[in-house]
């Protein structure tokens, strides 16, 4: 067997050759090595705190990948993903506490129910062009937030729900390490699915709609149906991530699922790169690490005498997220994925830069 390496020009002879995820065997081998590292080295090398951060990165990355399918590939913006994340979390926790549904069915139910809820707010957009989906998801965000707080018989209101211990196939999921495996297996699966969705008929239809909806419809793509499909997939990802998150942190309240979380997701995909699956992972990593760094930094500031009581984390976070969104949009609209590509290609082309 010979390794396929990058040819020195474009020698493709059929459309099929355009399609593979990995153009060369180098990419395939390096991702295999990456997977081995991820599952057999990292959980044993890293401590509990690092695994905790990594788990959050993976959960947010799943949601961000979903949002990127909608925003980056279909060209529709959702401001409701924070609440959709919450719908998944609430569905899973209610199923687990009230009906004692096992772990796996609950988190999948979290995803499916979110896709259905998402469709309710997606229907208006199906009749309209432009950014009406944005407005209706904004309404969705605020209505759902209201429901989380005020429908007390279902969601326990502001006091929240405490989840029972999760078990999967008889194994207790208690430590960060055992959750690491569950979360990252789903992370890899969902990433793989997303990567494949965007190169099938559906993904190409999404991209066509993003680039020019009139031309897309002219080519025979029923745009409203595809927009809804994209929105359903995207809300499924958000809900699934939310359900995973709820089972991981084991207690939920309406507090995290605000408009701010929606903005955080948007920040993730902008920073990572619109229209790039790997980019969403970069973005989720960036934002989660930024979050951790900020809370550490502000925790440090709070301990200093001069600043006691003066700084709280939320406004700073909001300001910095806003700033990061704006700066990336103006200076690097393709995000970290583009930076990564530039770095990679400059290595590849060195020493001849063209």
């Amino acid at each position: 067997m010979r390794l396929r390496l990058r040819p020195c020009g474009n020698y493709k002879e059929s459309y099929k050759e355009e399609l593979p995820i990995f153009e060369t065997d180098f990419g395939r081998i390096s991702s295999l090595i990456g997977l081995i590292l991820l599952f057999f080295v990292i959980p044993f090398v890293f401590g509990s705190y690092n695994l905790y951060v990594l788990n959050h990165v993976a959960i947010y990355a799943i949601a961000a990948v979903g949002l990127n399918i909608l925003t980056g590939f279909t060209g529709q913006l959702s401001l409701g993903h924070g609440a959709f994340f919450g719908v998944g979390a609430y569905t899973a926790s209610i199923l687990m506490t009230r009906l004692h549904v096992p772990f796996l069915p609950s988190i999948f139910a979290g995803g499916v129910s979110t896709a259905l809820v998402g469709l309710v707010f997606g229907i208006p957009s199906s009749r309209l062009k432009h950014l009406y989906l944005t407005i209706s998801t904004l309404a969705g965000q605020l209505i759902l937030e209201y429901i989380f707080i005020n429908w007390e018989s279902l969601t326990c209101g502001a006091s929240g729900i405490i989840l029972p211990k999760s078990t999967i196939f008889g194994f207790d999921l208690q430590t960060d390490r055992s959750f690491f495996y569950v979360i990252f297996i789903f992370f890899v699966i969902f990433l793989w699915i997303a990567k494949n969705i965007v190169r099938t008929k559906y993904g190409r239809a999404f991209i066509a709609i993003r680039d020019n909806d009139q031309a897309a419809e002219g080519m025979g793509i029923p745009i409203f149906r595809y927009k809804l499909i994209s929105f359903a997939i995207s809300s499924f990802y958000a809900g699934f991530a939310g359900a995973l998150w709820a089972t991981y942190v084991a207690s939920i309240s309406p507090e995290p699922f605000t408009f701010g979380l929606s903005i955080e997701f948007i920040a993730m995909i902008i920073i990572g790169g619109l229209g790039s699956i790997t980019g969403s992972v970069f973005g989720a990593t960036f934002i989660t690490l930024l979050n951790e760094a900020l809370s550490q930094g502000i925790g440090y500031l709070m301990n200093l005498k001069a600043f006691t009581g003066m700084v709280t984390i939320a406004p700073f976070r909001e300001f910095i997220f806003g700033l990061v969104i704006v700066l990336f949009l103006i200076f690097e609209p393709k995000g970290l994925a583009e930076v990564w590509r530039i770095v990679k290609s400059s290595f590849k082309l060195w020493p001849f830069s063209y």
Binding site: T71, G75, Q76, L77, L79, F121, I123, P124, S125, R127, L128, K129, H130, L131, Y132, T134, I135, S136, L138, A139, G140, L142, I143, Y146, N150, Q214, E217, G218, F259, G260, I263, I266, A267, I270, L274, T312, A314, P315, F316, R317, E318, F319, I320, F321, G322, L323, V324, I325, V326, L329, I330, P333
Partner: protein
Amino acid sequence: MGFFLQLLVQGLSIGCLYGIAALGFVMIFKSSSVLNFAHGELLAIGAYIFFVITIWLNLPIYMAFIITFVGSFALGFLIERLFLRPMIGEALIEVVMLTVGLSAMFRGLLLVIFSGNTYVFSNFLPAWLNIRIGSLSISSVYTVTLIITIIFLAILGFFFKYSSQGIYMRSVADNQTAALSLGVNVRRVFALSWAIASIVCAISGIILGVINGVNVHAISRIGLKVFPVVILGGLESIGGAIIGGLFIGFLETFVSGYLSTSLRDVVAYVVLVIILMIKPYGLFGLVEIERV
């Protein structure tokens, strides 16, 4: 009956307020078709400038008004120049995401400076504006809101109908490329519409501050409420914005008066979703018929 009338009056004034708040939004949308998600923060910034000048610096009211107007004009101009102009030629969705980012940035900044406290203006309005008709009392703030709404409608109406800048704005809204080729300075139109919209926002922000006190969270929530208002009225219609505002104002006061106060904040969005489903271009919006 007295309760009903009281609610009616309150609804009318809150509605006018939403209407004014939405005017700035509609102006930006009309000239550049950008959904401005930083609208609530523009309202809040106007209110805070006014607050700082009157309460912290203790300057007289008329000075405060002048400085606030000049300040927010400059702010609108700067926002357009610094953030929106580099985005010319980018996809609309990216510009909208930029305003989402701006909104988070401004809100964070205001919260860092002023924290989440509510600051109260001293009521500077003269007492003769308090109107009493029988059992019905209308506080001066509401009278002023009504008067200002009417003045604004008149001014903006004349501006768009007769002044050359207003006509440029309408032409840009109608067809950017055509306006450009006929020699309209599209950039200046954008800058000017952001600046004017920002002044309009400042005025509504000040009124909001007088009614409820200045609080970043509260005002940015009202900024989001602009969306049901403009969707109801139609995104491009200034008169529609006022009528949409009145409708949402009445709806909210009656819901909180007769049903439940907590429903008040969410009922507008329920209406928004319903309107989007049944009459998506709003009551007075431009119906775009597009055959592919």
